[in-house]
């Protein structure tokens, strides 16, 4: 999965080795601060709880890991922790995320995100699925425009998902996921 916006990107590669467990790595590039910084963190993800109902599904995930943070010539040990939750039916979708990456001598990178969306039509399996999503993001460490609000067009076809969005920051988002 790749989350991209003009001043940050977060690329994730994950391999699910058990239905509820996956391993992988996060690579984050952040240019919100005056000095560009990078984080590379191997991580473990756990599907803590899934509620399966006939018309809906809800999930709670946690993930975290230990890795490296770098800015300029400075490299430090970094730790990441995150929790995500979502609820969806075929017609509506809600999600929330809190992700924190901390390292000594670095400002803590924190991302809080909430989303609500709906499907303008109900696609069948193998068809193109589209969602109109409202998104709020909060970056407490960002010097300006720490709160960003905007629409996201979320689409997926078979095993590929992509999202385009804009925000009050005046920037764009492009997210991409391929699922094998």
């Amino acid at each position: 999965m790749a989350f991209n916006q003009t001043d940050m990107y977060d690329w994730q590669v994950l391999y699910t080795f058990e239905p509820k467990l996956s391993v992988g790595a996060d690579f984050i590039r952040d240019t919100m601060e005056p000095q560009e910084r990078y984080f590379l963190i191997p991580r473990l993800s756990w599907l803590v709880k899934r509620w399966n109902e006939t018309e809906s599904q809800a999930n709670i995930y946690v993930y975290g890991g230990l890795g490296a943070a770098r800015k300029g010539d400075l490299t430090e040990l970094a730790v990441e922790g995150a929790v995500e939750a979502d609820y969806e039916t075929r017609a509506v979708y809600f999600s929330g995320k809190a992700q924190i990456v901390a390292a000594r001598n670095f400002n803590t990178l924190a991302i809080y995100q909430a989303r609500a969306g709906f499907a303008p039509y109900l696609g069948e399996s193998g068809e193109l699925h589209s969602w109109l999503v409202g998104q709020v993001q909060y970056f407490p460490f960002a010097p300006d425009q720490s709160l960003r609000v905007g629409p996201v067009l979320r689409m997926f076809y078979r095993n590929v998902l992509w999202e385009f969005g804009v925000s009050t920051h005046g920037s764009w988002n492009f997210n991409f996921m391929a699922h094998w």
Binding site: T54, Q57, R90, S125, E127
Partner: protein, 98 residues
């Protein structure tokens, strides 16, 4: 006359389905199958099952929350085997109709 024969053959295929398939249909009602990304995991699981030669084919219907399994003539698939595929995708079996 030629058109009439083609029409009758088309009708026979539509009404009778695949004339080469004489097996059993199993309909699995799945809890939690609300999006196609979830269904992809199930498709992967049942594709692997198909390769074992037990299934003629399968069809996922999101609107009905079902997976239709076309079991080959003479073959069989148990509830436990079906449940294993569904739960392997972190979803749940609601009921299985045979």
């Amino acid at each position: 006359m030629k058109n009439r024969i083609i029409q009758l053959l088309t009708l026979a295929v539509l009404v009778g389905g695949d004339p080469a398939w004489a097996g059993q249909q199993v309909t699995v009602h799945v809890k939690g199958m609300v999006c196609d990304l979830c269904a992809r995991g199930l498709a992967k699981g049942f594709s692997a099952f198909k390769e074992t030669g037990v299934l003629e084919d399968f069809k996922i219907e999101l609107a009905k929350h079902t997976v239709d399994l076309m079991v080959k003539d003479g073959a069989s698939v148990s509830d436990d085997e079906i449940t294993k595929v569904i739960e392997g995708s972190s979803m749940a079996v609601d009921k299985i109709e045979r």
